[in-house]
């Protein structure tokens, strides 16, 4: 199976690889997937005033999984948290021209950003109480 140019581009030059301090109050971390399934994504966001100012990822998976998570970190940077919640896997799949067998990679990337936002929101609630 040949990869799309965009997948190869993200795979070879992944954006925002790395980690943020998972214990910081303004950082949300999403860890989705499972090693047994061959895909694990860790996606982190840093939020200031409702805006995502930084995003980092680490991914264990195939080229499409790495490209999907790289793309999401690129997209959500500068986005409001509310807007990022609306991201759909279909947008990722379309942008990367993912074939049907790789759609689950885009689903995982959507799950990852949602999980990171949920973690961030939980921290804000705990902080407020």
């Amino acid at each position: 199976m040949a990869y799309s140019e965009k997948v190869i581009e993200h795979y070879e030059n992944p954006r925002n690889v790395g980690s943020l301090d998972k214990n910081a109050e303004d950082v949300g971390t999403g860890l989705v997937g499972a090693p047994a399934c061959g895909d694990v994504m860790k996606l982190q966001i840093k939020v200031e005033g409702g805006i995502i100012t930084d995003a980092k990822f680490k991914t264990f998976g195939c080229g499409s999984a790495i490209a999907s998570s790289s793309l999401v970190t690129e997209w959500v940077k500068g986005m409001s948290v509310d807007k990022a919640m609306e991201l759909k896997n279909s947008q990722i799949a379309e942008e990367l021209n993912l074939p049907p067998v790789k759609i689950h990679c885009s689903v995982l990337a959507e799950d990852a950003i949602k999980a990171a936002i949920a973690d961030y929101k939980k921290k804000q609630l705990t902080k407020g109480s």
């Binding site: 690889v17 989705v32 047994a36 399934c37 895909d39 694990v40 264990f60 999984a65 995982l108």
Partner: protein, 409 residues
């Protein structure tokens, strides 16, 4: 350092390039000597027939068989189908039980599945942690209604070589009339395999795994005592009625030449391939942590190296090795999301199966290529581990098994 020409082909279990000496032997049979081997009344037919009969001797000699015991087919898949379906059909009055193994090739497993639907009973023997089946296991599985044992001599993914001579002896000691079919596709010409010594009744072979052309294979069918299979393709009654269809003369000539070269050069080539494999593995182990070998290090095909690079996914790794053709047991290489059934049968964890790479080193791989591949694998694994959340967690001292992973594929 000598310049290395890319891309490098190091996937010699999937197929092999045609040896130039094989191609030279084939070419006349595309050009001037294009006759049909079944044409009995002119020189074109005689020449073709003579070439086919020489090839029959060459292929027979590779496995210790006589020329008359070789039946040409379109490849090993057809040979396996003919052996299993043909024997099950011929011997159905004697019984309906077949014994095979869990790590067999799909050609055997899927044929067995069909035979099950048609009323056969099939036992799928489990393998040990290096992928081997013992003679005792096979003997213990034989029942009064057993007609056939079907096992591979060497595995295509992990290279494990089964103790075929011991298994053959155990089968015949337990129940003399149980037939022994061996899928010798990966083993023939690579490691010792002799149908007489191993008491083999039927054996499948393929030309393109031994530097011959694609589209030609053979089924060995024992003559003394005579073994019978019901033909699966009807037609002109070629191949003593066992396989109709005009013979692929150039392909068969190439198969014969490839078999002869493999027989004459086998031991020397095996020693060289083991040297290259050791060189690659040593380099990988010296430069990377957590490199796990899948399969056996003692009973293994010379050119096979199957390793899992923990915390790195196999397909992602292959994408980084764009100048190197290897293969992976990762799920992502197939349409299904399940990782290799062979590695799973060995008890390799799913996550390690996803991280596996199969290097298939062959006749035309050089030391320079091994070094190039080694360097690029180390670079790619290091880069992908820096990007792997699992590697990060392990470095932080987190036990991955303690995590509640959410997804179900």
């Amino acid at each position: 350092m000598a310049a290395v020409k890319v891309p490098i082909f190091m996937d010699n279990h999937s197929t092999t390039p045609v040896d130039p000496r094989v191609l030279d032997a084939m070419l006349p049979y595309f050009r001037e000597d294009f006759g049909n081997a079944a044409s009995r009344n002119h020189v074109f037919g005689w020449k073709a027939e003579k070439a086919v009969e020489l090839a029959r001797e060459q292929v027979g000699a590779l496995i210790g068989a006589s020329a008359k015991e070789i039946v040409w087919t379109s490849g090993a898949t057809e040979a396996i189908n003919l052996a299993l379906k043909g024997a099950a059909e011929f011997y159905h009055e004697k019984g309906n039980h077949i014994i095979t193994g869990q790590t067999e090739h799909k050609a055997t497993l899927d044929t067995c599945k069909r035979l099950e639907k048609q009323g056969c009973e099939v036992t799928y023997l489990p393998v040990d942690q290096v992928g081997s089946i013992s003679a005792q296991q096979v003997a213990d599985a034989i029942k009064p209604n057993t007609i056939l044992v079907a096992l591979m001599a060497a595995n295509n993914e992990i290279g494990t070589v089964h103790p075929i001579p011991e298994i053959g002896a155990a089968i015949k000691a337990k129940k003399k009339d149980v037939l022994f079919f061996v899928d010798a596709v990966q083993a023939a010409g690579k490691v010792p395999f002799d149908v007489t010594e191993s008491k083999v009744d039927l054996a499948a072979l393929s030309a393109h795994k031994i530097y011959g052309p694609k589209g030609v294979g053979a089924l060995y069918v024992r003559r003394k005592p005579r073994v019978r299979v019901v033909e699966q393709i009807d037609g002109g009654g070629h191949e003593r009625g066992m396989r109709s269809g005009t013979l692929n003369v150039p392909g068969i000539v190439g198969f014969g030449k490839a078999a002869e070269l493999s027989r004459l050069e086998r031991d020397e080539e095996a020693a060289r391939l083991i040297g290259l494999r050791t060189r690659l593995l040593t380099y990988l182990q010296q430069n990377l942590k957590e490199v796990h070998v899948n399969g056996s290090m003692t009973s293994r095909l010379p050119g096979n190296l199957n390793v899992s690079f923990a915390y790195v996914e196999g397909e992602g790794l292959m994408m980084a090795l764009k100048d190197v053709a290897v293969s992976s047991g990762s799920a992502c290489t197939s349409a299904s999301l399940e990782p290799s059934y062979v590695l799973r049968a060995l008890g390799v964890g799913e996550e390690m199966a996803h991280s596996s790479i199969r290097f298939g080193i062959g006749r035309f791989n050089s030391e320079e290529e091994i070094d190039y591949v080694g360097r690029h694998v180390v670079e790619a694994v290091s880069r992908l581990r820096e990007m792997s959340p699992l590697w990060e967690m392990v470095q932080e001292g987190i036990d991955l098994k303690s995590i509640q992973w959410a997804a179900e594929h």
